[in-house]
Symmetry: C3
Subunit: 346 residues, 3 copies
């Protein structure tokens, strides 16, 4: 485990150091859990009381908290971002050795540079191309003509169908499936006829794709995931979708075919976006919300049923079913009151 002096950390990540520069820390830890070898951080004012009690060797704090502790401290603009960067300094370099494992199968005309790594039992299809230092984990399937950029990594058991392209420094977690056929079919009397899905999936640089997430190939044109997009686990992206740069989606989200999501959006867990919609840049969709029409303006959008104790919910739901009738009764009351008023005025 790396040990770092506070002075080294400030030299590499920035910020103002108050206290002994030679204090050594071994890891980052939350305020409550930190011990005397840990660097901790205060990212939200509501945890300020924990600052008083922490056993951390030093803390990272915002400018407003500069004098809130007498501990050795690093003062910076954004403690949470600072914490992320320090955590990267400490993160153990994952021991992936370059080279093709003897049990992997690499087709003869695939291109695998010496700096790349292909894990045990992985398969690399015909004319596939890996970039420098790309890592294909054990048991992965990389189809024909797939391209994987420099420094990208597929964890174990990822499947990438033929013809898909992944950019640089992109991470794909286990069980993700990139490029399966989109859900395209035409009614043919009482049966369905399959529409061949001949587009591909194109994924940009610095993307992260979570475990068991699926991104379908386009029908005629490509499904596109732009640079810096972050997708959590268990997400489903339909064919011909485009997701704008730096948009982030939490677990279990679904995006139906041909939807176009803007840049810098966020979608909370289990959010669902229907097909052929357009979502503007800087839109936030709350968890559990179904988006059934396009959203043209930035903002936060929500549509979830409030939870209640079951009996109370049942009453609310029963009233909800009669809401149209209730509105009609209110109209009727208004009519009666107004007529009477008129009646008396006569």
């Amino acid at each position: 485990m790396a040990a770092l002096r506070l002075s080294e950390i400030v030299a590499r990540v920035g910020g103002e150091l108050i206290g002994d520069p030679d204090i050594t820390v071994l890891r980052v830890a939350p305020l409550q859990a930190a011990g005397p070898e840990d660097l901790s951080f205060l990212a939200q004012a509501k945890y300020r009381s924990q600052l008083r009690e922490t056993r951390a060797a030093a803390v990272v704090i915002g400018r407003a908290e500069r004098d809130a502790t007498r501990l050795p401290r690093i003062v910076c603009d954004d403690p949470y971002l600072y914490f992320a960067r320090v955590a990267q300094l400490f993160a153990p370099a994952d021991a992936v050795s370059a080279g093709v494992h003897p049990s992997a199968v690499v087709e003869a005309d695939a291109s695998v540079p010496a700096s790349a790594s292909v894990g045990a039992g992985a398969y690399i299809g015909t004319r596939a191309r890996l970039g420098e230092r790309a890592v294909v984990g054990p048991g992965c399937h990389v189809g024909a003509r797939v391209e994987i950029g420099e420094d990208s990594r597929l964890h174990a058991l990822v499947s990438v169908y033929a013809g898909c392209r992944i950019g640089r420094r992109t991470i794909v977690h286990s069980g993700a499936v990139i490029g399966a056929d989109g859900f395209g079919m035409a009614r043919d009397g009482e049966r369905w006829t399959k529409i061949p899905q001949v587009g591909a999936v194109v994924i940009g640089d610095d993307v992260e794709i979570g475990a068991n997430t699926t991104i379908d190939r386009g029908a005629l044109e490509d499904t596109v995931i732009e640079d810096g997009v972050k997708l959590d686990n268990q997400i489903q992206i339909g064919h011909n979708v485009r997701i704008g740069a730096h948009t982030a989606m939490a677990g279990c989200v679904g995006v139906a075919g041909s939807a176009r999501i803007g840049r810098h959006c966020t979608v909370g867990g289990a959010g669902m976006i229907l097909g052929h919609l357009e979502i503007a840049d800087y839109v936030n969709i709350s968890a559990g919300t179904l988006v059934a029409k396009s959203i043209k303006r930035p903002g936060t959008y929500t549509g979830i049923f409030p939870i209640a104790e079951n009996r109370e919910w049942a009453r609310t739901a029963a009233q909800l079913r009669r809401l149209d009738e209730l509105a009609e009764r209110v109209r009727e009351l208004e009519r009666r009151l107004t007529e009477r008023k008129r009646g008396r005025k006569k």
Copy 2:
């Protein structure tokens, strides 16, 4: 890439050709993206304006649009279905070669015909049987006694548990899991006791199963997916479910145990069907809708919270929590008005 003359297309797929029969096209493309080597199509009247501007070599149109363009054209009853069929003519034959890859493991008493294909690293269990021309992709797991029919295909990294049966011409996408144990257990004081799941999964002909979809084996009897059913990605089908022929379900749908879904139904993305329910034939469930009781009659059913800008939603949700009280207040108003009326009549 195949090049086809319009006359060849009409000979194989039907329709009436207006214009030069020797025009050659290389692929199908949407109206806006089509170039001079492409065949395009007008599937919905709302895209009619694109018809005027398309650079396509020729178009497929419905009878009502017969004279809406002067381009070479194929007139037919259902342009979308026609497009699907032409796309199949153009779709590149996937280069799967027959035979068992040397890195695959096939148990000695499994039955694999010479016309079948078993990919790199795949495993075929004891007494499993593949049909003629069946394809088991790289890294797949085919358990003991599994049967896979003629011309069916498992893409890479599919898992089929012991004893499950898949029909003919059925496609299963990567990451799908067929036949894991259903979620069956009995309360045993404060613990759970597992109920062995000894049924299997039986899948018909011409079915398509999406990436990372899971279909559990039955507890005592089988889980059944009838002919022509189409399941998108990330779907969960519980134990002992039966899905009727030609029903289609979009991504992220869940069907709980022992539900029986009719034929020719559709379920929109993230629709959820609770256990032990019965859904009639020709029922459409909207995206995001939870079905909590049986549906006896064909029709379209919906239950989704309307989305709104977050502050507006919060007001609506707050009122919704007081809906029972609001209804009581309306009843009280009705009472007061009626009493007063009586009072005045006296």
Copy 3:
């Protein structure tokens, strides 16, 4: 297939036998499907009519049903639990043979006892440790330093990331991914910076994890699944979540990061629990319900939009959007009525 005399069953599972102790049964079956070689059971009073018509050789019934049939019968406190236990007696022992398949890759310093089984093409990473009789299915990925306890089983194609620990007698189904990176990142201007996820996943004894379920590793500390937890398929558990002992979750559930779920809870299919919440012990969340705030007291909680025929739903949804206005109109009516009353009193 095992054949068991009723006397043997009662000797092993308990209960009171009424009728010929030498009757032999071959399997358990539901009342309607049972034949003359089957033992059936009546778990709920509503199926009592089926008791009259069953062709079963014998039945398991509760004390209240003691005289509801003249069939040979086993009378017990909880027929469903009894059925689970008898089904375990009949369940075929799965033929997993000990030893490492020649096509598996086991790193030299991994620890695999002779009684353990490692399937075809599986990978066992450096310093991983399997317990006695542990089974790692074909194609699994077991990362560095992973620990898997005695008698636990990973079905085919499971992925366990480095450093995660799984207890004893735990079952993990195909496609599950244990220990992928949690969804942690900090805003860095218009981009996202990844927060290294250096915690692990710790799973207790007697846990079952469904197909394609994903459980993320913690950011700094561990994600914890306590003893006896049962997770169905397609579930997503975020980083730093803790799930209390014997809690059960149905398919498609999502639990966001740092949520703490109590013991003996149940979550229905597609239930969704937001991040950083606390759920008390003995809480039941209904299917399709989103939990957006902590739940401090045991009980059943629900929040689902009632389903309706689509046109009716559209009317309800339209009124719902105007609910705040409707409440205002009711307030106005109350005001008018009250003022008039005052007016007349003057």
